[in-house]
């Protein structure tokens, strides 16, 4: 059990309040150096973060109003010096540092961060020279992204007015503090997403500008989102941040880097007066050149006209030649006709009737002569052919079967006219036709029966048998 009983008793609330008072009184203003741990931006806009070193961690908070004024965006790993007061939240009795001011712990820390980021973005190709787009020679509209207050926009407008007044569309942004980066990104993308034919003329070139300041002041132009937006802009973009010696990452990603905002205006537009002079000069040279050209051509023409021979002289030659040729033509025509006429007469002489008659008579005599010689020759030939035919006929007769008949044989044929060569097959009553040497053909019938011995063998209708009977026998049938 407890031995000391004279100690006063607190309620929890009393103790918590007492602690809060002690902490706030003792640490009403502190300056602490440490590394940022986890950083959270709440929806309310308050920023909650951890401040730490190797052994310890303290919670920290930057209220919304203060956060907007920070020159840089708190990032994990960044070494910072924070100023503020300590307090506790009685509900949890946790103490935390309420930060009023915070800055990177020396430029060295930021530079190291910058170098690291630059390497990373360069490795991605965001700074490649081939990404750079040419600026328009004479933009109609220039989009300027900067603070609407301050010297920067005035410097730009002033220099534009001097050189070549154009249409300027200002997209007002914060150029410092926690919200600057997001606004600048929105402005770059906003200009790019304007339609070509919308009520708002899409700028032909963009200028992102800010005046000089510390590295912390310019920090938003090192933000990765801003660098990426500048690199991704379709509209050519000129960066003009700080003074000539200040270099931020947007300068590497932009298409042109201007040393100052005034310089950006000079890069963006040519000098109108010079252009007017150029156009005037070209215009007067144009008129002069045409005039001289026409003058020169006129004098060339004059020279040619003077050098031109007289028309009569040009024609004289031709006319003489014409005369000469037409003379020769008449002569040639006459000669030609004469020659043709001579030939015609020669031919006509050949056409006289006497000559024709003579030719006819000559032909007739020749024909008579030929026909006279033709008749004896024809007779001779005819007699010779007759003799030959007779001779051939005799030879033919000597080979005829009729000669055999003349020697007493008869030709035996059946009724169909076929020659009968064998008698044994002939039946009784069969009709036969017998042809004799005097061409007479008589019919006979077989009447003997081979079975009857009395049959007269002389009647056998065989050629050989028919040879023996006298010719008169045939007549007996």
């Amino acid at each position: 059990m407890a031995t000391a009983t004279n100690a006063p008793e607190f309620t929890v609330s009393e103790l918590a309040r007492a602690l809060k008072k002690t902490v706030e009184d003792s640490y009403g203003h502190v300056r602490v150096r440490g590394e940022l741990g986890r950083v959270t931006v709440a929806k309310s806009g308050h920023v909650y973060l951890d401040l730490k070193d190797e052994q310890a961690v303290i919670d920290g908070v930057v209220w919304k109003g203060m956060a907007a004024q920070l020159a840089f965006r708190p990032e994990e790993g960044l070494e910072v010096i924070a100023e503020g007061r300590l307090s506790t939240f009685p509900g949890r009795s946790k103490y935390q540092i309420i930060i009023d001011r915070m800055e990177p712990a020396g430029a060295g820390a930021l530079m190291a961060l910058l170098e690291e980021r630059k390497k990373k973005l360069a490795a991605e190709g965001l700074f490649d020279p081939e990404r750079k787009r040419a600026l328009p020679f004479l933009p109609r509209t220039i989009g300027v992204i900067t603070s609407p207050t301050g010297a920067v926009i005035r410097d730009i407008l002033h220099r534009l007015e001097d050189r070549f007044p154009v249409h300027v569309l200002l997209w007002p942004v914060l150029v410092q503090g926690d919200r600057a980066a997001a606004q600048i990104v929105e402005a770059i993308q906003g200009f790019n997403s304007l339609p070509d034919n919308g009520p708002l003329h899409r700028p032909d070139v963009l200028i992102v500008a800010r005046g000089g300041g510390s590295i912390e002041d310019l920090w938003c132009f090192n933000e990765e989102s801003v660098v990426r937006a500048a690199a991704g802009s379709d509209i050519p973009l000129i960066s003009a941040v700080g003074h000539e010696t200040d270099t931020t990452l947007i300068d590497f990603a932009s298409d042109r880097r201007a040393p100052t905002p005034t310089g950006a205006a000079e890069i963006a537009v040519p000098v109108r007066r010079e252009l007017i002079e150029r156009v005037d000069l070209a215009g007067s040279r144009l008129s002069g050149a045409l005039r001289r050209s026409v003058d020169r051509k006129r004098s060339d023409l004059g020279a040619l006209v003077r050098a031109m021979p007289r028309a009569e002289n040009l024609l004289f030659d031709k006319r003489q030649r014409h005369d000469f040729v037409s003379q020769r033509f008449d002569t040639a025509l006459k000669t030609g006709v004469e020659r043709k006429r001579g030939r015609l007469e020669t031919l006509a002489a050949g056409l006289r009737p006497a000559a024709l008659q003579r030719d006819i008579n000559q032909a007739r005599r020749r024909m008579t002569e030929v026909s006279r010689r033709l008749q004896p020759a024809y007779g001779r030939q005819l007699r010779q052919h007759t003799r030959e035919v007779a001779s051939l006929g005799a030879r033919l007769d000597s080979l005829s079967y009729k000669n055999v008949l003349a020697r007493g044989f008869a030709l035996v044929r059946d009724e169909a006219g076929g020659v009968v060569r064998a008698g044994s097959s002939l039946g009784e009553g069969q009709a036969l036709m017998l042809t004799f040497a005097d061409d007479a053909t008589r019919r006979a019938v077989i009447w003997d029966d081979p079975a009857r011995p009395s049959a007269a063998p002389a009647a056998k209708p065989r050629k050989k048998a028919a040879k023996k009977p006298p010719p008169e026998q045939g007549n007996l049938f």
Binding site: V166, W171, L286, S293
Partner: protein
């Protein structure tokens, strides 16, 4: 005077128009252009010159500021900046 610029010149950028004008001047000055062609070229040069002059004459500083309408879309209104002069 009515605008007699050909359409292709109307659409031409100032820079290209000026370049072509200067080329035309050089060609005409060289004297190597035929008469009829030189007149046509001159007329084109005159149109280009007019185009350039119009563009130069139109130059006027007009400053507008982006504001956001109730629909959240950007729109322009005349900028009331404390510009000098």
């Amino acid at each position: 005077m009515s605008d007699t610029r050909p359409d292709d010149i109307k659409a031409m950028s100032f820079e290209r128009a000026l370049e072509e004008l200067e080329q035309i001047v050089q060609r005409l000055e060289s004297g190597e252009v035929e008469l009829e062609q030189s007149i046509a070229i001159y007329e084109r040069g005159a149109a280009l010159r007019k185009h350039c002059e119009t563009r130069l004459k139109d130059a006027e500083l007009k400053v507008e500021k982006i504001v956001f309408g109730p629909d959240g879309r950007p729109q322009a209104e005349p900028a009331d900046l404390d510009t000098p002069g």
